[in-house]
Structures are given as C-alpha cells and as structure tokens.
Subunit: 377 residues, 2 copies
Amino acid sequence: MPNIIVLGAGMVGSVIAADLAREGHAVTLADIRKDALDAAASRSPRPITTAPADLSDPAVISSLVKPFDLVMGALPSRLGFDALRAVITAGKPAVDISFMSEDFAQLDHLAKGHAVTVITDCGVAPGMSHILAAHAASLLDSCDAIEILVGGLPRIRSRPFEYKAAFSPADVIEEYLRPARIVEHSRIVVRPALSEPRLLDFVGVGTLEAFNTDGLRSLTTSLRVPNMKEQTLRYPGHIDLMRAFRDTGLFSSDPLPINGQPVRPIDLTSRLLFPKWTYQPGEEDLTVMRVSAEGRKNTQPARVQFDLLDFYHQPSAASSMARTTAFPATIAASLILSKKFHAPGVNPPERLAANPDTVNFILAQHARRGVSYTRSA
Amino acid sequence: MPNIIVLGAGMVGSVIAADLAREGHAVTLADIRKDALDAAASRSPRPITTAPADLSDPAVISSLVKPFDLVMGALPSRLGFDALRAVITAGKPAVDISFMSEDFAQLDHLAKGHAVTVITDCGVAPGMSHILAAHAASLLDSCDAIEILVGGLPRIRSRPFEYKAAFSPADVIEEYLRPARIVEHSRIVVRPALSEPRLLDFVGVGTLEAFNTDGLRSLTTSLRVPNMKEQTLRYPGHIDLMRAFRDTGLFSSDPLPINGQPVRPIDLTSRLLFPKWTYQPGEEDLTVMRVSAEGRKNTQPARVQFDLLDFYHQPSAASSMARTTAFPATIAASLILSKKFHAPGVNPPERLAANPDTVNFILAQHARRGVSYTRSA
C-alpha cells in the first residue's frame, strides 16, 4: 500500500488527506497546528496518522518525507517553494497546490536530476483550469483564444461585499492589486488589477462580474494560443467596491503618519475586513468555472467549453473550494502512483492534458467524487 | 453707514464679506489665517478691512466686535457657540451660519437680556430650508407633511465617490454617522444614519439618491406639522459606498491595535479621503434643494413646493454652496439693519417666515444676486 504524506492540514490539505485515505492509501498528515491535525483526523472517513511538525523549516521537511512514496504539498503560498525544493532534494515525487508566487520551473532541473515526477499548481484554478484549457485547445484543429473564468463565492449574498474568502484574505487582496498578465496576439500584455470588468450570466448562479486576474501562469509559455486570459468572478458590485477601497488608498502598503505613528493602510483595512470575509461554520460556498477554447475544426469556426458549478458538500461539511482544489491533486497522485503519468521534472498541470485518456480519467474521477465538469460543443 | 464685522474668512465668510461690501456696507473681515484674509480681500469687488485675530478665544471676540453695529458669524461649527455667546454678551446683534452642534436656544435668555436680535442657522440648509418650510406650511390651511431635500454636489461626477465636500469633510462624515431626528405623527423619531435611501429625479441634475439626515433642528419644535423630514442628496451609489465604509468599520473612533499601536480607523480614513473630497480651484459645484409642504387648502388636498438649482458662479469664482449659504445671512443682515426684523432673542431662521412680505423680500434679494428659488403649485 502506497504511503503518502500531506504537508499542511488547512482547508485543502485536510480534504486531500481524507480523500486519499478513502481511496485506501496510508496517509500521514503533517502540520504545526495540533488542533488542525485533530480536526482533520476526526473528519476523515478512514484513520489517518498525524505528525506535528514545523513545516516552515525545509530541514524538517527533508527528514519528515523520507519514509514516504509521495508528498502532497498543501502549505500556504509563502512556504510552498522552499518546501517543494526540500521534497525534490529528498528524491520524492510530489503534487503541489500551494500556489507559490515563485516560478516553479526553477526547480525543474533539480527534479530531473533526482528523476522525480512533480506536478505543481494542481488545484482547481490553477489546475483544472489549465488541464481543460490545454485539452479544449487540442480538440480543435487550430485554437485562437482561451478564456478561463473562475470564482469561489458564498451561496448567500450579504451586503456590502457579497463575498467571503475561501482562502487567505491577504491572498485575495493581493489578487486585487497584482497586475494581470494576459496573452493578446501571441504577446504577453499586462493589464491593471481589477480591470475590464464585465457582466456574464451563469446557469444556476445568475449574473456575475468578471475582471482580469493573474492566473495564466505557466499557460503563457506552455500553450501556443495567440489570445488567452483568466478572469475572476464575483457577484456584481464587489469589484466597484474593491476599486473604491483601492483608489481611496486603503490597500496601500505605504505608511502614513497617524497621530505621529506610521500606519500602513493595508494593515488596518485587513484587520477590519478579514473577520467580515471569513466563512462561518456551515456557511455554504460555491465554485463556478468556465474554460473555453475558440478556433476552427474541419475548416469551420468551432468552440469547446467546460463548465463547473459545485456547491458546499453537506455530508462532509467541506467547502466546495476545498473539494474542487483537493481532488485534482489527489487524482494526480493516483496518476503518479499508477505510473500513468511519470514525466520527470516539475510539470505544470496542463502536461496532464497531453493524453486525452488522462483528461477523461481525471474528469471521471471528479464525477465519482460528486464534482461534475460538463462539456458543451 | 453701518459697520459690520464678519467672523471667519473661510469659503462662506469671504462671500458674506464681499456681498456686504457690494451692498455698500463698511466691512471688516476677521480670521487667524492671514492668507485667507488676503485672498478674501483681493476677491472682494469693493475694499474690505481685514483683522487678523484668534477667534477661538471668546475674549478676543468680545473686544474685537465692540466698534461694530452687526456681527456675522461664519466660524467652524465647533467654535460657533462660544463665539456667539461672546457676541451677545458684548450686546451686538448677529447673524450666524456656523451650524453649531450645541442648542442655540440656550442663548435666547442671554440675548433677550441684552435686547439684541440674533438669527442663527441662517444659511441654505439649515436656513432657507427652514424659512421656506414654514412659509410653505403657512400657505396651506392645514399642513400635514414637510419634506426638505438638499445636496451640494460637484458638477462633474468622478468615480468612485462622485462627491466633493463643500464644507469640512469631517462634518460630512459626521452627517453619515449621526442618527437623524425626523417627525412622524407629531412625534420625534430617530432613524439610523444613511437610512431609507431612495431615488428621485431633479430637472437639470437627473436622478439623485436621498437619505435621512439630522437637519430639522429647530423645526422639530417650532413648526406644528405632524410629519417632517430632511434628506440629503447625493449622486446614486455614493450612499452604498459610504454604508460599506461605515459597515467595514472605517469610520469608527474605537482604536484598534495595529502593530502594537492603537489606531482610530476614522483618523486613517479621513487622512485618505479628505484630499480626494477637496474641490480643486475652479472645479464647479451645484446646489439642489426642494422644500415641499403637503396638506389641504380650501378643503382640497394641496401642495406647495420651492425648488433651487444653483451652479458655481464663474464671474466671482465662488462655489454655489458658498453663495447659497452666504446670501441668506447677508439678506438677514439687511433685515436687521433696516429693522424689518427686530425680535430680541436668538431666532431660528423660520421666524423670518412669520411675515410673508419678509419671505418675498428674501426671495427677491436672492434673485437679484442670481440665485433663483422657484415656487410651484
């Protein structure tokens, strides 16, 4: 029986551990937070082993992962890169969903040297977004444009924000500040954060507002499609409010003198905003994603589209965002363990789309877990 | 020739001084800010005398006003009450537009003792709003409802706020925080700040949003009308944004620990907001006001309505808000000087409406200055 360790017992890591245990693997879950480990263990349908450990120390990771066949990285983004380097150096294959800000391609040479297979960015977006974008493009004779639309939202909309953060609120604000790299006419162009908002309708959700975000990442170089963009989805009005906050200076990191003390506006704003953006226990979320490819097929204009609409999972009390992020990783784990995917190096998720059978396997495995991607056209 | 002193050389005080000088009075303008005095003197069409003085000290005011026949109070609201007490104690009649938060009725006994006539709250709103409310009610046989709608707005609307503050931005935020006292079924009821927003159309301006504000002041006791309310007008969307700021806690005065230092959110928010809410030189504003009375006349349902739509005054480079606030005060000054109004005590502006001829004089004097109130029905 394969022996797997999951690094990080947060919202996603705990669902990864539970899913791998359900699949019959021997699972160890590591985190410095004892309470998070206990909560994850009690929620897992099958027993898992817990390992309290300081995963911010790469040396701890190096020794911790030694007995395992596969490592699942589910750490906060700021810890992801160093942790993955330690795992690769220890000679272990890995699947990572930490959404590290560093370029993981820098570790490709190291991974090839150790002959280990690593899949990074393997969540829902990035992750399934990239797999489906590459797959959709491959179903056309020529692909002219890729569009990824994705959002995690509370089911119940409460003013003024109509938003809760399914992951770190600081990372959400970062998404509202970071310029978005998109591809136009085969060139990478940079658009301001929160730019080009537009309204779109989604069956089962209604009208949402999309805005540019910096989510293409590896696709900008791995996919030869002349026009590509990612946009994030919110309920209408949220973007205007966030633009107002930003334009007022409330997200600024430049200290201002307030009563003689330097104060960074973002520190105060975060302090006020984060409690309001936190999901309460049992508060339901949803995940909506649309990945489309446009081009030509048999000399005719053609379009391939994949849609996801997933809701909070009552039986396991797991958020939709945690499940849709965890399952691509656990399914990728099974691909590595079964040697269906064995390319050495650090692979962005779209590499899995090189084989259509692999994509169909991934989609079927999602459906088995109750997460349905539907293809149209 | 009557000798008049104007206390305060701010936006309104400087227009009051210029208007009184144009009318042929000998005018002295006092302020602690030398630059404000110089600017006001250079903008006045006729010479005025300037008097540098610290008007936050009531003793300074007592001696300063001695040689004058009439005192015009145009100080910031926090200085208004103490200044007016000093003026009354010095035995001088006065017109005040400081919008003091204290109850000026407390000074009524003092004023009667010194046999001086004082008119307070004598700007546009409060001021003309109260005069026209009382006048409109008197034109009906019975009045059931008074409604005052008023706003000062930039002519050019820029996102996200579509607003500039024609007076102290701190007083504007105060207006967004202070519960509003309105009269319903002859009882004073208190509504939350920013409550009951509704959309209304105004000829020449378009659709505006009205919300409850605490502007009835003396009308709640002086006018026996069972239903009365004041609402402030903004371009649509501004209220939602201000509610979001308030509900986020950005207007709170309760200190939060930020990096070990207590910080009052309102201090940071003001610091960020006020520069964005400041009119730039030459930036045009407008004032819109509607005062209506509903009731019965000759046994039939009847309605009397007064409307004001006034714009930035190019020739004098004076804001509409400054002019519409200054002229009720200067016209009241002429009523006191000509003894057309001579009631001793501290009079709220609606007392001027006891005589319909006085109201007609006030409206005619406004029209002479290019500010037109129009009556319908």
